[in-house]
C-alpha cells in the first residue's frame, strides 16, 4: 500500500496520520479531497457551529530588539514609524473599547522593546483588568514571555504566574513561525528557539493557562519542516491538552527584509487552503482552527470554513502587524458582517469568549 492509500484509509477511519502519509497527501495536491476531509473532521468536532469573537487588538509598541527579517512591523526607536503607547494611551484605547457592545477579549501582542521593563507590560494588563474586569485577556506570545524572563531575571514560570495573577487569561499563539532552528536562524535569529517556544507553552499549560498555537509558512521552509512543525504541536498537545486553537499565517513578504533577500512572493489561496485542510487533518487533537480573515481575505476566509476552519476570529478593531506587511483588508469588521458571512454558507454563527464558550449577545438573532 502506498503512503497515499494508507493516508486516505486512515482519514476515512479517523485514525492518526504519520509523517510519510502527511507528505504524500501534500504532494498529491488534491485540494478538494483535503478540503472535504478536513470539513468532515471539523463537523465531527464542532458540528455546524462557526465561532467568532468581538475583540480588540492592542499593539503596545513596534520598537523591537529582535529585528526579525520576517517582520514588517518592527522598527528601531529612531524610525519615523516607531510608536510606543504609554499607559495613558492604553487607557484611552480601553475606554474606547469599553463602548464596544459585548466585547469578549482584548488581544495584546507587541514587539520586544529594548528599554521597557517587565512592569510596563504588567501595568498594561492591570489596566485592562481595572477598566474591563469581565473581558478575557489573550496576551503575549512565548517570544515575549522569554524576553520578559531575560529582561527581568525571572524564570518563565515566575513570569507566567505574575501574568496570571494580574489577569492574563490565555497566551497568544504567535511567534512559533516554523519550529526548526535551521529556519529560525534565517528568519528570526534573535528570537527564542523552537524548544524555548514549546517550553513556554508546556509551562503555561502546566499552570492551567491555555494558549493558542500557530505556524507561519510560505517563506524559506521546506514542506518537511512544515510537517515536523505540526507534529511538534501535536506531540505537545498530547502531553498537555492546553492548546485551544490553531491558526496558520501565510507569510506576507511585502516590506520585509526576508522577502527582499529571497525574492519571496506570498503563496496563493490554493496553498492557504491546502495547508489549512492538511493541518486540520494532522492536528487531530486540536478542537479549533481559525480562518484569520485579515491574512486570507474575507472571501477565502469564508471558503476556509469549508476546508476545516471553525472560527472566523474576531472583529479586531485595528490590526497593525500584518497590515505593515501589505495585507489589503480593512482593519476591522462588524459582528453583523461576520455573522452574515457564516450564515451565507449554512453554518451557525456562534459568538464566543476566549475559550469557545458560547456568549449570548444581546444583538444576536
Amino acid at each position: 500500500m502506498t503512503d497515499l492509500d494508507s493516508a486516505k484509509e486512515k482519514i476515512s477511519s479517523g485514525s492518526r496520520l504519520n509523517r510519510a502519509e502527511i507528505l504524500a497527501l501534500y504532494e498529491d495536491n488534491d485540494l478538494l479531497y483535503l478540503g472535504e476531509s478536513a470539513r468532515r473532521m471539523k463537523e465531527r468536532k464542532t458540528g455546524k457551529q462557526v465561532f467568532y469573537t468581538v475583540n480588540r487588538h492592542i499593539n503596545l509598541t513596534n520598537v523591537c530588539s529582535a529585528n526579525c527579517p520576517l517582520c514588517a512591523f518592527q522598527c528601531h526607536s529612531g524610525d519615523n514609524r516607531a510608536f510606543t503607547l504609554d499607559l495613558n494611551d492604553v487607557e484611552k484605547i480601553l475606554r474606547e473599547s469599553a463602548q464596544i457592545k459585548d466585547l469578549s477579549e482584548i488581544h495584546i501582542v507587541s514587539s520586544l522593546h529594548p528599554d521597557k521593563d517587565f512592569d510596563y507590560y504588567v501595568d498594561a494588563v492591570k489596566l485592562v483588568k481595572k477598566i474591563l474586569p469581565d473581558v478575557g485577556i489573550n496576551a503575549f506570545t512565548p517570544v515575549e514571555i522569554i524576553n520578559f524572563a531575560k529582561i527581568s531575571g525571572k524564570t518563565v514560570d515566575e513570569i507566567l504566574r505574575t501574568l496570571i495573577n494580574v489577569g492574563v487569561t490565555s497566551l497568544a499563539g504567535g511567534g512559533a513561525e516554523i519550529l526548526s532552528n535551521r529556519v529560525r536562524e534565517i528568519i528570526c535569529p534573535k528570537k527564542c528557539t523552537a524548544d524555548e517556544w514549546l517550553d513556554v507553552m508546556r509551562t503555561a499549560h502546566g499552570l492551567g493557562l491555555r494558549t493558542n498555537a500557530s505556524m507561519m509558512f510560505g517563506h524559506i521552509e521546506t514542506i518537511e519542516e512544515r510537517i515536523d512543525h505540526l507534529l511538534k504541536l501535536r506531540d505537545l498537545q498530547d502531553e498537555t491538552g492546553g492548546f485551544v486553537a490553531m491558526m496558520l499565517f501565510p507569510f506576507h513578504p511585502d516590506n520585509t527584509e526576508l522577502g527582499k533577500r529571497f525574492n519571496l512572493r506570498r503563496v496563493g489561496s490554493w496553498e492557504d487552503l491546502k495547508m489549512l485542510a492538511l493541518s486540520r487533518l494532522v492536528l487531530d487533537n486540536f478542537d479549533h482552527f481559525k480562518a484569520f480573515w485579515v491574512m486570507l481575505t474575507l472571501p477565502i476566509a469564508q471558503l476556509a470554513l469549508n476546508f476545516g476552519a471553525d472560527d472566523m476570529d474576531g472583529t479586531i478593531g485595528e490590526e497593525k502587524i500584518i497590515h505593515a506587511a501589505g495585507a489589503k483588508n480593512s482593519t476591522g469588521i462588524t459582528r453583523e458582517k461576520l455573522r452574515a458571512i457564516i450564515s451565507e454558507i449554512s453554518y451557525t454563527p456562534v459568538e464566543r469568549d476566549s475559550f469557545y464558550n458560547k456568549k449570548f449577545s444581546s444583538s444576536q438573532s
Binding site: L31, L32, T297, I300, E344
Partner: protein, 364 residues
Amino acid sequence: MFVRGELEKIERKVERGERLTREDGEKLFECGELSWLGALADYVRKKICGDIVYYNVNCHVNLTNICLSRCKFCAFGRDEGNCGSYAMTIDEAVKLVEEASEDPNLSGLHIVSGLHPTWTFEHYLSFVETLHKKFPKLYIKGFTGVEIQHFANISGLSVENVLRRLQAAGLEAIAGGGAEILTDRVRNLLCPKKATAEQWLNVARTAHGLGIKTNASMLYGHIETLAERVEHLIKLRTLQDETGGFQTFICFPFLPKNTALEKEIRQTSMWDDLRTMAISRLILDNFKNIKAYWVMLTVPVAQVALSFGANDIDGTIHRENILHDAGATSPRSLAEDDIIKIIREAGRIPAACDCNFNIMRIIE
C-alpha cells in the same frame, strides 16, 4: 463523493458523460454541496481538457466609455461631456499598445468599448485597421455581440457584412461580453437599449458561420433568478451544439459599486462564484474552456476556481478599466510570472495562448 438521492443520480450521469437537463441544473444550484460540485466539475475538466491552464499576455484597449446604452449594471459607461468621459484618438490607442509592447511576450489585444453615440462604424473599423497594420504580430480579439449589433444598426449593413469587414481589417475573434443574462425579462429591466437575447445569439451564430470564433459569458448576481442562470447556460449550449464556434465561457459576477443597482444588490459571495463556475462547467458539456476571470473574482478566488472547473485564467491585461470603475479590488494588471505561479501552485501546467487558444508557449 458523499451525496445521496437526486444528486447521486446527477453524479452518475456526469460520470457516464450524459447531458444534464434544465431540472438537473436547477437542483445543482439548490444543493449547497460546494465541495461535491467542485470535485464533479474538476472531474469533467480533467476529462475534457487535461491539466493545461491557458492564459494570455494581452492588453485591454477600451476605445471609449461614452455609451448610449447606459445599462443599469455598468459603472464604466458615461454620457458625452460627463465627468470622466473619454474617447481615444487612433494615436492614443497606438500609444497605449506601444507602451504595452514593451513586454516582448505581448501577444494580443482585447478591444471592448462603449457604444459611442456619434462614432460611425467606419471609425471603429479604422482602429482595427491601424492597430493591425502597426502591430501585425499581435492578434486582435474585439467587440462583443452587443457592439457588433450596434455597428449593424448604425451602418445599415447586415451583421454578416459588419463581421466580414472587421475580419478583413484584421479582427481574429469576438469577445464574449454583452450576453449578460439571455432572457428578455432581465434585459428589458437592465439593458433595454442594447442587443436583445436573440440578437446576441444571432451575432455569435453568424460569426461562427464565417469561421470567426467567439467567446461566451454570463453576468450573474443581479436581478436574475437561478432558473434564469440555467436557462442562459442552456441557450449557449444549444447554439454550441449547432455551430461549435464558442471557445471559452466566462462567468462574470456582477460588481454593484458605482452602478445604478448599488443600493439594491449586494455583491455575490465567493461561495456563489465557485458554485456558478462549477455548474457552468457541468452544464456546458460542449465547451472546452471555462475561464476564471481574475479581475472580477479576485486572484485568490480565481486560483481556487481552477479546482472548480476552470482551465483558463485570462491574461495580464496591462490596464483594466471597466471593472475598476465598478470598484474591483484586484490589481489592474498581473505580471506573467504571477500568473505562472498561480497556475503552478495549483499543480497545473501554464500555457500562453493566442485569442484562438493556439498554444504559443508551454511553461514546463
